[in-house]
Symmetry: C2
Amino acid sequence: MQFDSLDDIRAFCRDLPSGNSRAVAEAAQRQQTLTKPPGSLGRLEELAVWLACWQGHEIPKLERVTTAVFAGNHGIAVRGVSAYPQAVTEQMVANFASGGAAINQIAALAGAELLVVPIELDRPTRDFTIAAAMDADEFLAAVDIGYRTGPPDSDLLAVGEMGIANTTTAATLCAALLGGGAARWAGRGTGVDDAGLERKRETIDAALSLHRAILGDALEVAATLGGRELAAVAGAILAARRHQIPVLLDGFVATAAILPLVRLEKGMLDHCGAGHVSAESGHRALLAELGLEPLLDLGMRLGEASGAAVAILLARAALACHAGMATFSQAGVSGADS
Amino acid sequence: MQFDSLDDIRAFCRDLPSGNSRAVAEAAQRQQTLTKPPGSLGRLEELAVWLACWQGHEIPKLERVTTAVFAGNHGIAVRGVSAYPQAVTEQMVANFASGGAAINQIAALAGAELLVVPIELDRPTRDFTIAAAMDADEFLAAVDIGYRTGPPDSDLLAVGEMGIANTTTAATLCAALLGGGAARWAGRGTGVDDAGLERKRETIDAALSLHRAILGDALEVAATLGGRELAAVAGAILAARRHQIPVLLDGFVATAAILPLVRLEKGMLDHCGAGHVSAESGHRALLAELGLEPLLDLGMRLGEASGAAVAILLARAALACHAGMATFSQAGVSGADS
């Protein structure tokens, strides 16, 4: 195992690998020479420089792009917090395998390899209104699965999840670590009705009350109130940092999954970009708390890395311009009047 | 010529071709059957249905995608309203031809054919603080060039422009047709300093004062205060409507170019989507006036159809899901609990 204890994760977060400042300076300088007014490609320029930062080259590449989707089941599903039955998690994993889901289409379009990792779907986490969802060992095992997913030579990782009831899990993590209670973080997920939304809120508040003793410890929260697929997302983020791979996060659940790590060390976000902001109500608030500005705002709320995978297309546009455009001198174009 | 007089354009706008409501119903129904919670792909679902509407098929296609960039020069460039000299218009057209501009890279990535149409660059429009920029015949000639650009069998058209000083032209059109004067519509364009911005405002207000007698006639405004590349954009929009081709608009100038048509007939926008919202300050206000919600908000302000071309990637993502996803029954996935 990469991390044998929660303390191992804490130690990793205290000494995070940093990006390459020379590559940042070179890439930013290159952007100034390309045939466009400085800054006029907006976030496409930022994306190119950010890819350069983590890949460590003035001109980054996107030859090997990976999309990882982790799937898990949740004890709290019995509380009626989702519009869909728990069996849908496994059914959707089968749909991913046979190529029928949205992420299959988007990943193929974006030229990204798709890795789908179901984690003990026949063993849901415990209902955290009654007990801890996972103990530390169960949490670490799921983190490890995420850590070992995805090739260390990826140029970019888009990460997402699938798990019936997991917007309730995500909202519980946010409420535990950021405050505001269920009212602030519970949304309609896949589309619950008013009664379902009320059940979500009750579930979250019950969990916060039961586990109030551990709310001050971010990793205890991640185990006690989290889920296996969320732990795996966190593991994948840690591995990406180790291997200097930039990451595009998907929606509310994927972002909530890394919140415990960010509470340990704010710099954890440096290699992470928000692929999009979801229509799930808590996501916009969570991104604002984290200071992440999403690349896309398309009203998507599907999960399964679909928003992050669409954002890969923006990274490709950014790189195409960064690598392919002529400079002012190459093209014989006059610069700005001085 | 497609339109021999301004009245010919008015007549076309009174009797606009409409989309295919049967294809809309079929495409919307198809979206309900795909393996995702209804609505969870957000604007990607809307995009797929909109493409279906104009192509007239439940499953539209994006085999032939066209990007058109019209270029023109402006008499008002002599007023010091741009950070770049007028020669840059022609230099950038050469850069488009040799493949060195941003739009070359993005169009190639998006699988779009790029058509660059310089229009009488050696004959700038007249300085509209002194005289009409174009007379009706000059305007109609430029509209005609736009109308004849682009194959009638395109599946999607992204349209943009290049022309030093043309954010001043666009702001003048907006002020003339929507009110608020220069203060509301003048922005920094390619990056003018405070003195340049003040010159832009003076230019716009001087033009509005000189031509106040014609401000009530949208097409007279388009000729008198417009530009050749803006007229060509309008022509391309008219041709796209005739041929039932959906259109993605680029930034402030391209959107302002169709404003006169929209003033004639609001339904002109039905086949037009806003590819993005530009960082040029007037664009967000203009889109709000038109009720257009941009697909992207990336702080881009380059023109040359670059934002619209990035949005082609979103159309491809939308179509990939619409055409390629399995249905609930095909995949054996359970629907929502009832």
